[in-house]
């Protein structure tokens, strides 16, 4: 927790006068909601940190992160719980919202816990999809191929 405090990004929102949700008790907790259309993984849970892969790069989000909107890239989301354990999920795409009151909504189009993915099947699909990927120059098709590879 000490290290997290050092690593926390500066919070411009506190310098602005028109900030709402200023309650100090609220900003030390992150209300984390992580869901796909068919399943909810975290609902307004309190977690320490969330690592997400976005189109503009990989983010680590801690409580009182500056508000932002991002779009996800296919990749692995890691959630660090309050007790220190980490849970990893593969997401195909989606969006993440960090609000001023430290609530985070991570909405994924498809999300699976990593231990549900079969490594051997994934490798076989990866080779098939990589040949597809070489021929598909379109970003979307590439993302699809990556998704299929890791499904």
């Amino acid at each position: 927790m000490m290290a997290a405090r050092f690593l926390r990004r500066s919070i411009p929102v506190l310098r602005q006068a028109r900030c709402y949700a200023d309650a100090p008790s609220g900003s030390s907790q992150m209300s984390f909601t992580f869901a796909s259309p068919t399943q909810v993984y975290f609902k307004e849970a309190s977690v320490k940190q969330v690592d997400v892969p976005t189109l503009t790069g990989a983010f680590g989000i801690l409580p009182a992160h500056v508000p932002t909107l991002q779009v996800l890239r296919p990749g692995v989301v890691t959630v660090f719980n309050d007790d220190g354990s980490a849970a990893k999920f593969f997401v195909s795409s989606g969006s993440i919202t960090v609000n001023a009151d430290s609530s985070v909504q991570l909405l994924a189009e498809e999300a699976f816990p990593l231990d549900q993915l079969d490594v051997a099947a994934a490798k076989a699909n990866l080779e098939k999809a990589q040949s597809e990927m070489a021929s598909a120059s379109d970003e979307a098709a590439r993302a699809e191929a990556i998704v299929k590879a890791l499904e």
């Binding site: 869901a35 508000p67 909107l69 969006s95 189009e109």
Partner: protein, 295 residues
């Protein structure tokens, strides 16, 4: 419909039913009502099974949908007042009937919104998901100039995220530059109740220019556009899920009351049948007895 040559009898309890001249006609009617009762009972069971599944799928979908609109609520995004806005209404319903007032509630809400918005001089276009809505709203030429897009084949199978994304893609391809809008759907409250509700949708420009967006860091136009498109799909998906659950529960209730009405009719008709039968027998007996007495 067989010819009813009988008179209507006004019973003291303020009910009425016709006197059938022969027991045969009563039997025919009784048989057809019993068949109808079988059909409504089985429809009720099918609707109950579909409702159970829809409600199970609704739980994660609700969390998902609430997460999607959280941004709009927390940042208090509003379209600029007073400007001639273009509105987009998405009405979510289904193709199938026999489910109570589900479709007409959504249609009423849409009609009311069209009336207020055109009264304020704003431009409105409507997207309807589900054929029943199209029948109610648009075949009567009164509102047909508001129709932007119509979607069918809704309601046979439970809606998926793919369905919602197809609707959103087609809608965005139509190129209607709306400023704000709403998704109108039936929000599921319990097995016996649902409420027509709406969730707001905003265009990219409205969100970008909204005053509270300044606190959100590191947003460029591309990211915002992707985010908005994804949010649109999420809201449509949420409306679809809630609508199907409300529709199945309404159909369950409607078929249940239809079965009850049918069994009431069956009871009354059975009594009538027995009375008619006994009347015929008594008449024959009287004829025989008076004939024998005449000898």
């Amino acid at each position: 419909m067989f010819a009813r040559t009988s008179a209507l009898v006004f019973l003291p309890q303020c009910q009425w039913h016709p006197i059938f001249p022969t027991p045969i006609l009563v039997t025919i009617r009784l048989k057809s009502i019993k068949n109808i009762q079988k059909i409504t009972k089985s429809m009720k069971m099918v609707a109950a099974a579909k409702y159970a599944r829809a409600e199970r799928q609704l739980k994660p979908a609700r969390v998902y949908g609430n997460g999607a609109v959280a941004l709009y609520e927390k940042a208090e995004i509003k379209a600029p007042e007073g400007v001639a806005n273009k509105h987009l209404l998405i009405g979510v319903s289904s193709d199938r009937g026999l489910c109570g007032a589900v479709h007409s509630n959504v249609a009423k809400a849409i009609k009311a919104k069209i009336a207020t918005l055109t009264g304020e001089g704003k431009e409105v276009m409507v997207v309807n998901v589900g054929d029943k809505l199209r029948n109610i709203l648009f075949t009567l030429l009164t509102h047909s100039n508001y129709l932007l897009l119509s979607c069918k084949e809704v309601g046979r199978k439970p809606p998926t995220f793919t369905d919602a994304s197809i609707v959103a893609t087609e809608l965005l391809n139509m190129g209607f530059e709306f400023d704000q809008g709403a998704v109108i759907y039936n929000r599921f409250r319990s097995v016996i109740s649902y409420k027509t509700d709406e969730k707001p949708i905003f265009s990219i420009d409205t969100v970008a220019n909204s005053e509270n967006m300044g606190i959100y860091d590191d947003i460029d136009a591309d990211v915002l556009r992707n985010y908005q498109e994804f949010a649109l799909v999420n809201i449509i998906y949420f409306g679809l899920k809630e609508s199907t659950t409300s529709e199945q529960s309404a159909r369950m209730t409607a078929m249940d009351s239809a079965s009850k009405n049918a069994s009431e009719m069956i009871d009354k008709l059975t009594l009538t049948f027995n009375r008619t039968r006994q009347a015929v027998i008594t008449k024959e007996l009287i004829e025989i007895i008076s004939g024998a007495a005449a000898l």
